[in-house]
Amino acid sequence: MMLRFTIRFILFFLLLGSTVLEAQIRFDAKVSKKRLGLNERLRVDFEMNENGDNFDPPPFTDFQVVSGPQQAVSRSWVNGVQSFSKTYTYFLTPKRKGSVTIGQAEVTIKGEVYKTTPLEIEVTNAVEKPNDPNNVEGLIDGNIHLVAEVSNTNPYLNEGITVIYKLYFRNPISVSDVSELEAPSYGDFWSHLIKIGRAEINMRGSYKGEPYNEVIWRKVVLYPQKTGQLKLEPLTLNLSLSVPSNRRDLFGRRILTQSQKTLTTGQRTIRVKELPQRNKPESFTGAVGQFDFDVILDKDALKASESFQAKVKVKGKGNLKLFNLPNINFPNTLEVYEPEHDEQVKINISGMEGTIEDNYTIVPQFQGKYPIPSVEFSYFDPLSSTYKTLNSQDLIVDVFDGPTASVSRNNAQTLNRNQLLTASEDAFRFINLDTKLTLINQRGFWMSRLFWILLLLPILLLFSVYMIKRFVMSKSEDTQSLKQRKAKQLAKKYLSSAKNEVLNQARFYEALERALHNYLKAKLKIETTEMNKSKIEILLLNKQVEQQIASDFIELIENCEKARYAPGSSVNIQGDFEKATALIVKIDRQL
């Protein structure tokens, strides 16, 4: 029992010893910064983990040693493990600009010579605020950074990018409080802030290749809405920091001082590319990403006045909320209600993802077939930098059992489609089995030769009949009527002067008598001197004028004389005038 314990004890020590022996010897050179201004100070530490002798610093030819070497030794036991470090520290100021090398330091540890690796330091122009490692401000500036990481600084219009704001800090600084002073508004972007629960510190972050603590402060998804150079406004944070000061407390620890610091990310510029104009499809409405597209009907056969739904659906990744879905061109007689828009879009660090839909409710009014034409949707794929076009398939809705669309029965007033042929059960009619055909290019009757013949024939007929009638009449008609007409004209001629004097009795009869004498003179060729009544009568009788007419004529002349010489006697002017006319006509006929 005792023996076993002893063996265990020895084994333990052996193991311990071996671990101590196994521990590697390190001899490193560390600088406080690898880039500094000409007027700044540089701290160089040469650190070893075993005690060594004959420390030989490198020749600081391009530097001036401000202080040092300072030697510090620390030794500690933690859980039985010993750790040791011995550090030589120099504070240097550079003598010249440019790339400067700190050479190798040498030390002899356990009889062997160890060397550090040479360090390249870049010395720049003098800076405004020389960084004194012991200066609090300098300490802060060097050890805390706020950065905006942009996933893509040269995206296409409407292509999603993410911006992650990260805060880096490292020892000896610790952050006790953070508040946002100025949050960017992302004016020319559609933006979405991704919520971050608690700020978590990632101890293994790295900033410019050096280890830092990393805190993700903010994540934003942005979709640029304008092309060109877009400015990303800076994020400004106000930080409360704990920074070790130069003072030390009773136990030699450095006293932490509270300090306020305002950090800003600086302005970032994002160069937004325009979508290519070449090959741009007409149906393109601004969708950028990777999508699937479909039009879905929930029924394809239904009764009139029932309803069905048509769904226009786009699924995928991209700017889903930022474009309009294509419209469906429904046949005109379908009653279509405004579509309901439905979005199921998740936004994560890679952008929007999900589906958007337009749901149309449609109520057919009439029976029949309703083809729903293919709908075209096109989008721009930024990955392949090409436009892609998707077409839905042609769909047909069959509506049965309902009224047919109206037809007005009058051809002249062409169809008025929006009326109902009330509840008529008219179905689609079967074909006409009549096989009679006519020539397509048959000329109509109108303006045809036959038409003109039929039109001109009656006119010619009428004309010729009229001409024939006139010709025949002029031959056959007895001279009597012709002569009669002439006599009438003659009488009118002679009696015209008398007619003018109808109002004056004396003058009328004078004129009438003269007219009658003139007539006889013209007709019977007798001299005025021979004008006495018995002679006239004989002459008239000689010319085969009837007895009665001749005596009437004489009587009329006598009447005239009577009226002339005995004015005031009752006379009938109108009656005598007519009598004269009639007599002349009669005599003329008989002469």
């Binding site: 046949p331 007689t333 009619r429 109108w446 038409f451 039109l455 006119i459 009949v465």
Partner: protein, 263 residues
């Protein structure tokens, strides 16, 4: 002399024979075309619409048509969901037989499928009256009426010329005058129907979608779109642009459109 007579006789005989030949061949052609239509009808009844269309269109290509043929073509295209063709052939059928109910019903079915909804322009009363008058009968019937009226006028006028009594003469004269006025009216109506037919050209749009512009160039304003199966009136053309008017009175220019004239 005798020989000449003989040859003349032979010529006459030959002419008669040729006449017979032509006549019978025409008859045969007629019969074969009718059988084509019958075959088409059969194919339609068996549901083979493409075959039916092939038969019908073969008949059309041989220069023969009828309202029934166009109607059947429209039906077959309707069954195949071809909107524009279907509307086109129903319109053709309506031109030949404007009052057939079957054509009107099926034409309404076809028009149901079209996408454009065009409110028709309301007609003024004068226009309505005019259209009713014009629509009373076809152009040929109107021209027959015109000719008949002229004959009646001539008859009445002759009656006037040859009648003896004054009363008879007077009534003949006035009635002939009335008939003459009727003849002139009928003639002018027929003439204007003919002119209208010649000057108005309708067409059916076959392009699936076409844009209507305010000017025959791309600088003009974009007005609206039309879809296949819509009927419009052709007004004018310039290079590859056509000016059109649709039923609601809107006018505009289309470019490179596929359409088929209805006449």
């Amino acid at each position: 002399m005798i020989k000449q007579m003989f040859s003349g006789k032979r010529l006459g005989l030959m002419g008669f024979a040729i006449f017979l030949l032509v006549n019978t061949s025409a008859l045969f052609a007629q019969a074969s075309m009718e059988s084509l239509v019958e075959q088409g009808n059969e194919a339609y009844n068996q549901g083979d619409y493409r075959k039916a269309i092939a038969f019908y269109e073969q008949t059309l290509s041989m220069g023969q048509h009828s309202a029934a043929l166009y109607f059947n073509l429209g039906n077959a295209y309707y069954k195949l969901n071809d909107v524009a063709e279907s509307v086109y052939y129903f319109e053709k059928a309506q031109q030949l037989n404007p009052k057939d109910e079957n054509i009107l019903v099926n034409s309404a079915f076809a028009k149901n499928m079209t996408i454009d909804s065009i409110e028709e322009l309301p007609q003024s009363q004068i226009e309505q009256f005019k259209n009713q008058l014009y629509g009373l009968s076809s152009l040929d019937t109107w021209s027959v009426i015109t000719v008949v009226l002229l004959w009646i006028f001539v008859g009445l006028f002759l009656g006037y010329l040859f009648s003896n009594t004054v009363a008879l003469k007077r009534s003949f004269f006035f009635s002939s005058l009335i008939v003459l006025l009727l003849f002139l009216g009928s003639f002018s109506i027929t003439f204007s129907i003919d002119q209208e037919n010649k000057n108005t050209h309708y067409a059916i749009l076959f392009s699936p979608e076409i844009e209507i512009w305010s000017e025959p160039n791309q600088q003009g304003e974009f007005l609206f779109t039309l879809h296949e199966g819509t009927k419009f009136q052709l007004l004018d053309d310039l290079e590859d642009w056509q000016k059109i008017r649709i039923a609601n009175g809107s006018e505009g220019w289309i470019r490179n459109a596929v359409f088929r004239k209805l006449d």
